[in-house]
Amino acid sequence: MTQTTQLLVGTRKGAWIYRSDASRRDWSVEGPLFLGQIINHFVRDPRDRRTMLMAASTGHLGPTILRSIDGGKTWAEARQPPAFPKGDPHGRAVDHSFWLEPGHADEPGVWWAGTSPPALFRSEDGGDTWEGVTGLNEHPQVLEWFPPEAGTPDGAILNQIVIDPRDARHMYLATCSAGVLETTDRGATWRPLNQNVRCDFLPDPYPEFGQDSHYIALAPTDPDRIWQQNHCGIYRLDRPGERWERIGEAMPQDVGDIGFTIIPHARDRESAWVWPMDGTEVWPRVSPGGRPAAYRTRDGGASWTRQDRGFPAEQGWFTVKRQAFCGDAADPMGLYIGTTGGEIWMSGDEGESWRQIGAHLPEIYSVTAVSAA
């Protein structure tokens, strides 16, 4: 089965939309949209297939949310973007929104946003107005979980929001300084979920919190299976278990198990892909050895297979950031990456071969695949 796919591409300098034909062979491009705006995330609502949001800021101006309710034909700014309350006791102000998550299927119109500094915001009107989630943003341990000095070169981030498709109250967050946090009451209370996840950069290598969780994903056919690409390795957790298993130990030693993202297969709970990057010595954060490749497991992480056909065999130094690797729902599943070098690559055969479908864009921050409306 094939289907027509759209790729929503957010970059350091604006957004683009790539559209495929039914075979996913030929692609047309629309853009730039909002040239010069830093677009950290560009997402369409799977519930109505019309609402689209972008997390936007610029080098000069404060952050905002750009919003379309007609599938991208027209855009307007959110009336009330995510912002801390005036007089916040910690003096926080939103620097940028990083992650946008459509709410649970049972809660149409609800959206969630993760920001820098790390905080969680919720909208109940399709992203037009936003309120802080006090259960997290005013948690007694908020400054322990999110120390102002901790974080990435672009600042500390709440970098991901994941909702259990079976239960709108059950959510996970991935954060850069508290690892994974879990709520079972729609955000009123939170607890760390980091058992056995390593922290190479703290005196206690296995703390309750402090980990840098780059990306987590629930297996679509088994939401009790969580895949995690951490700053310190690749992990898997099968709930109701609490203890993560470092499945990245099975990666080739000269490649390692550091990366930004992990993508589960749409139908096979044992399969997932990672995009390794060089995390040795001074952390170059490039494709290891200048040889870009995805790695796939078909056995829950017990073994990994290199998938590099089509990529440069040498002198390829790009990498793929947190939100810039995604799959579609087709069969065979399509895979898409956006690179730090402004290239878009796709595989129509589940990673066996890759081809470039876009180039010369600014540094790509996010790629989201959606079926054409």
Partner: protein
Amino acid sequence: MIRVSIPSQLIAYTDGATRVEATGGTVAAVLDELDRRYPGLKFRVVDEQDRIRRHMRIFIGDSEAKHVNVPVSPSSELLIFGALSGG
């Protein structure tokens, strides 16, 4: 009336106008009035704790306003600039 200079980064809010007029006794009051006319403009310039954003600069004539409580006289010129912000 206070004459306000709008930088290129904000003309999407002002329908392209680079110079507008406003009233208000402080920088904050001027920005509040501009925000009523051009919704969303103020938050791009000043954060939710009323701090002027790091890469925006505001001058009253030749004198830089470091915070939004600086008074503005009715005959003043208020200039908003997008400062250097990287490549």
